[in-house]
């Protein structure tokens, strides 16, 4: 029986329908999707009532792609085509990957990002992740009974630009409208903070399957302000498994294993680790393809010894984050534990010891990130008059440019509140120099070779001048998703050479379109029809936004003729929407965007006055 939907009182000012929005935790080991229903954030289960979706994708040679538990079950039988922990490869080149020997995949080195050879060809981590996202999207749309307006997708706070861009690309490939990339510890803080209506300094310790984050936040009335974040985007529960796996090899005197056995023993290592969260020892038994029998017992003490250095590796970033926030462990009012790996007793003890208090574990560490993301998605989709809380996050890593001598000049320091823009002037070093090479880097070290290269581009057409006379202003902008764009212009002569770069691993729209065409799932789809549908969704969103803006303060801010002009554009848009002509819809969308820019600016001004006056809009007579 279909249940009647009743909206929460006072939540929606405009009488529009509830927009379907979801929060997605795209995890290394498991992924989840959650949504806000009747004001409460809930994880959406699969048809068999299971909340988690194992982040495992298996490609079959008949073109079918299997995601989740069914793929996981065949991991050992079909290791090359069953991709686990793909998040570790997002935005990473082959040279970035360690522990290749324990991975059963056939890697293909490709510019920007590594690829994995499967029975249906080479797959990028973006494509593999998109399969997981598609499965979650379908789960959400089935449960909610309609198409999603948008989704918030979480990323580790310590993800760099390459990893964030790759995540966003995967979402686009999965056909999701990304409302925001949200940092995982921040998402957890939202779920906790809104639950407990807490105030003060909180630390979020997030140890997932493949990544570690520590974030320090200040919670004041309705504001979540991230003060500092740190972490290690290649440290997680997988590493604990690998330690156990290596111990098993050592104990059994094994060295060379088939890929099947590697997968099998890694799975056994994980089971043993999980068993030790509740038992003092774990028995490990396995029969290898060689017929060899493995029968070992691992005690909690041995496990703690094997993994002690990993626990230590999480405390160093924790110290750094506190120092960057200008705080000490004693200033922290509560420590929130996030991620399945925080179930390990030794980790809870070590974190408790470090902060001098028992960490908070009252929300399920596997679910808390998705729950927070759903709350944020609900607000961003416009379902809530969102004046009750605000999120201020930071950029985790410093951004800079290469200067003479292979050194990095930092432009945006780590832990800057986003969005942020910074400009820096550079000059030519040779007489008559007409071009300049700009190399964008991310990281904390001083040398170029120790930082991550994000992009290289050339600024051409600088008028010939004596050395040092040109003024090249390079501007870095980091948006609210934590994504960077860079522009440069020559300012001394007024001759503009303006360029926008997207970091080199970012996929272009054409590449996304090509991948969509190639993707087996979409082979039956008409790509043009899909594009038309996307244009319609965008256009409709703009019409809705414009109409609600007009209803709110169109009368106060627009003259009769301005109003008429916008109404005319809306009329043209509605006319375009009745056709199936993509270029007409695109033109009408651009025209309406253009035609409402001034109105948008005036609405901003009203907001400024209202904010500074500390009054509601009705008080100042608008």
């Amino acid at each position: 029986m279909a249940l009647l939907q009743i909206s929460e009182p006072g939540l929606s000012t405009a009488p529009h329908e509830h927009r379907l929005a979801a929060g997605i935790d795209l995890g290394t080991t498991n992924s989840l999707v959650a949504t806000v229903r009747n004001g409460i954030s809930v994880v959406l289960n699969d048809e068999r009532g299971r909340p988690l979706l194992p982040s495992v994708v298996r490609y079959l040679n008949d073109g079918v792609t299997v995601v989740g538990y069914d793929a996981q079950a065949r991991q050992s039988d079909d290791p090359h085509n069953t991709i686990v922990s793909v998040k570790r490869f997002m935005g990473r080149g082959l040279k970035d990957l360690v522990d290749l020997s324990t991975l059963p995949y056939h890697f293909v080195d490709a510019p920007g990002m590594v690829q994995l050879k499967t029975v249906v060809g080479a797959k990028t981590p973006v494509e593999v992740s998109a399969e997981i996202l598609k499965a979650l999207k379908m789960r959400a749309e089935t449960a909610l009974g309609g198409e999603l307006t948008g989704a918030v997708i979480t990323v580790p706070a310590y993800f760099d630009d390459a990893q964030r861009q790759a995540t966003k690309d995967a979402a686009r490939l999965a056909g999701l409208n990304v409302l925001r990339l949200l940092n995982e510890p921040t998402a957890a803080a939202i779920a906790y903070g809104l639950d407990n209506s807490s105030e003060g300094i909180y630390a979020v310790y997030d140890l997932g399957g493949g990544t570690f984050d520590i974030s320090v936040l200040k919670l004041t009335k309705g504001v979540f302000e991230v003060l500092a974040t740190n972490g290690d985007s290649a440290l997680g529960g997988d590493d604990f498994d690998r330690r156990v796996y290596c111990w098993m090899l050592e104990q059994s005197g094994l060295s060379v294993l088939s890929d099947h056995d590697k997968s099998l023993l890694m799975a056994k290592a994980r089971e043993a680790k999980e068993a030790l969260t509740e038992h003092a020892e774990a028995r490990i038994t396995a029969v290898l393809t060689t017929g060899e029998l493995i029968d070992l017992t691992l005690t909690e003490g041995q496990f703690n010894e094997l993994t002690a250095s990993l626990v230590g590796k999480t405390l160093t970033p924790t110290r750094k984050a506190l120092r960057d926030a200008g705080l000490s462990a004693a200033d922290v009012k509560g420590v929130v534990m996030v991620g399945g790996s925080t179930r390990i007793p030794r980790i809870q003890a070590a974190v408790g010891e470090f902060f001098g208090q028992t960490p908070l574990t009252n929300l399920d560490p596997d679910k808390v990130v998705a729950l927070g993301a759903a709350i944020q998605a609900n607000v961003l989709a416009g379902n809530k008059r969102e004046d009750d809380w605000l999120l201020l996050d930071v950029a985790p890593l410093s951004l800079g440019l290469e200067t003479m001598g292979g050194l990095v000049e930092k432009i945006i320091p780590r832990n800057s509140t986003i969005p942020i823009a910074r400009a820096q002037d550079f000059t030519t070093y040779k007489d008559g120099q007409t071009a300049m090479s700009i190399h964008v880097l991310q990281g904390e070290r001083e040398r170029v070779s120790d930082c991550r290269s994000l992009a290289r581009f050339e600024l051409r057409g600088i008028p010939p001048m004596v050395a040092g006379a040109a003024r090249i202003r390079v501007t870095f902008q980091v948006d609210a998703d934590g994504l960077l764009s860079v522009s440069a212009r020559e300012t001394a002569t007024g001759v503009e050479a303006h360029i926008e770069v997207k970091p080199s691993y970012g996929l272009t729209d054409d590449e996304i379109a090509r991948m969509l065409r190639e993707s087996i799932d979409h082979a039956m789809d008409d790509v043009d029809a899909r594009q038309l549908a996307e244009l319609r969704v965008d256009a409709q969103r703009l019409v809705d936004a414009t109409q609600s803006a007009l209803a709110e303060n169109g009368a106060a801010l627009l003259s009769q003729s301005e109003r008429t002009a916008i109404d005319a554009l809306l009329g043209q848009m509605n006319a375009a929407l009745t056709t199936s002509d993509p270029s007409a819809i695109k033109r009408a969308t651009e025209a309406l965007n253009q035609g409402t820019t001034e109105f948008a600016a005036r609405r901003m001004d009203v907001g400024i006055k209202r904010a500074l006056a500390g009054h509601k809009i009705e008080d100042i007579g608008i």
Binding site: D387, R541, T546, N593, A600, M604, I608, K609, A611, G614
Partner: protein, 174 residues
């Protein structure tokens, strides 16, 4: 509303070195509550773009005014003075001698893992930094002696760097 108005006007404060930190925080939060891109995630493209620009602008204003160093530097810029310009390097000899002594003391405390020595150095450096902040307030808000303020600011810069290095030294000793 003018996008190019100064940081103080944007945050509704009078341009002065001595500011009410609480009011600054409140004005900042009130503005971000209006303009943060999260408020416009479902709005049209034009509004989304403006929200990012405004929110960026508000962050810049807040960060500039929050730190005493950048606030003083900014106040001097409003007076047309580039206090940290590479040409403005002249410093009184006795100040530089004191700095060198402190630097040497820092190196030796680290070399000998002298924790109490480091704490004593930090205390002395903090006291001097605070004294310079008081002097800056007098230079900027009372005497309006901007040249004197520039020199005080350059001195304060030395102290800030020293305190940052002391902080790093603690990390090394840990």
């Amino acid at each position: 509303m003018d996008f190019n108005q100064d940081h103080f006007a944007l945050l509704g404060l009078a341009p002065a070195f001595a500011i009410d930190g609480e009011r600054l925080d409140q004005a900042y939060r009130a503005l971000q509550t209006e303009f943060h891109p999260d408020r416009f995630a479902h709005a049209g493209e034009a509004e989304q773009r403006l929200a990012m620009q405004w929110s960026t602008r508000i962050n810049e204003a807040y960060q500039t005014l929050k730190s005493p160093f950048s606030r003083a530097k900014y106040l001097l810029e409003l007076q047309g003075i580039q206090a940290m310009d590479a040409n403005n390097t002249a410093m009184p000899a006795e100040f530089l001698v004191q700095q060198m002594e402190w630097r040497e003391s820092l190196m030796s405390t680290v070399a000998t893992a002298d924790y109490p020595g480091l704490q004593a150095l930090e205390k002395a450096a903090k006291a001097e930094a605070d004294r310079l902040l008081g002097e800056l307030a007098a230079d900027l808000d009372e005497r309006r002696d901007y040249l004197a303020a520039s020199e005080t600011l350059r001195k304060y810069r030395f102290l800030e760097k020293l305190l940052a290095d002391i902080d790093n030294a603690y990390a090394e000793l840990e």
